[in-house]
Symmetry: C2
Subunit: 196 residues, 2 copies
């Protein structure tokens, strides 16, 4: 058991307690992978057989609309899970792209292994229930913000929610996440400067 793997166990042990045995068993179901920046981890139409737990780097998921514009749905920095949840749970064709924004190390965990794990060690069902609940709340907040905030407020919200990412990401990707054009985000920031 190497040092990297323990980061995922730390996250799990916040929610459930595992024996040595159980830890080992779980880790044996993970496949370590390294993705180069921009490697197409998942594309619409493919099946998301795995979820990825990010150990180092950062993944993003995004959709492309009728006019060819990208819309970023989620970022997954270290310690976060990423998948196309729709495809992962239904094993139907994915709707999203998943792509590293920098060189990224992750563990892949297959739906098949997950299902088996739930039967073998029911405690894991609890862990995934909890992180799914949390993720649900995050998406709901996003809906609330998209409906109730203007572009300026969504940008401020983003800065407080992802204080780290804001320095790492190209502005276009921030724009894509909050739902404005890169040009407009640029103008907005200029406007914010003036006012202080």
């Amino acid at each position: 058991m190497n040092a990297e793997k323990s980061i995922i166990l730390k996250g799990i042990e916040k929610h459930i307690t595992l024996s040595e045995e159980e830890q080992k068993h779980f880790l044996s179901l993970l496949a370590p992978v390294k993705f180069k920046k921009k490697y197409p981890v998942l594309q619409p139409g493919e099946i998301a057989n795995e979820a990825a737990f990010v150990v180092e780097g950062c993944l993003r998921s995004y959709s492309i609309d009728d006019n060819g514009f990208e819309h970023i749905i989620q970022f997954a920095p270290e310690g976060w899970w990423m998948t196309d949840m729709y495809s992962f749970i239904s094993q139907r064709p994915a709707q999203l792209y998943i792509e590293p924004i920098v060189d990224t190390e992750a563990y892949l965990f297959s739906r098949k292994n997950q299902m088996k794990l739930f039967d073998d060690i029911p405690k894991f069902e609890r862990y995934f229930r909890i992180i799914t609940e949390n993720s649900l709340v995050a998406y709901r907040q996003r809906v609330v913000d998209n409906l109730g905030l203007n572009a300026q407020q969504r940008y401020e919200q983003f800065c407080t929610t992802y204080p780290t990412l804001i320095h790492i990401l190209p502005q276009q990707q921030v724009a894509s996440y909050i739902g404005v054009t890169p040009e407009f985000l640029s103008k907005m920031k200029k406007g914010m400067m003036r006012r202080r």
Copy 2:
């Protein structure tokens, strides 16, 4: 066990198998309630101690933004669960309003009972994991739609997703859900008529 209660068991038995005993035990944790239209089931600041399973009627959850505008986050017709998930799982003050759009019958299920049930009958953890996964996917789709579709497309999306609700709801609530003003929705529909 009355006829009404079986609708909730039917939903559950799509995902897990329960003995007579277990069914009875679960039902004993539910508190039947009747809400008159517009009764304030939950308000921001309160704690969502319970989730509600709708047996008859329909609930809605919504937020109110800085300018006093309502934004509908979710509808829960018969057979759906409704709560302020953020408050329910964290037991912190809610951010949403929950309100019946018509007289509504429901079962209340407390977080406390849920936690205990998970320990007593772990199978239930699976049921709630699954419906949380599904709900997560629905929210994610909403985010994708909000970012990638224009008002017209969001309206069409709504009509195909909630073909039943469209006839029941006042148009303002449809407008509030898809994120436009009632005036604009009205104009949009007129525009759609013309084109055919």
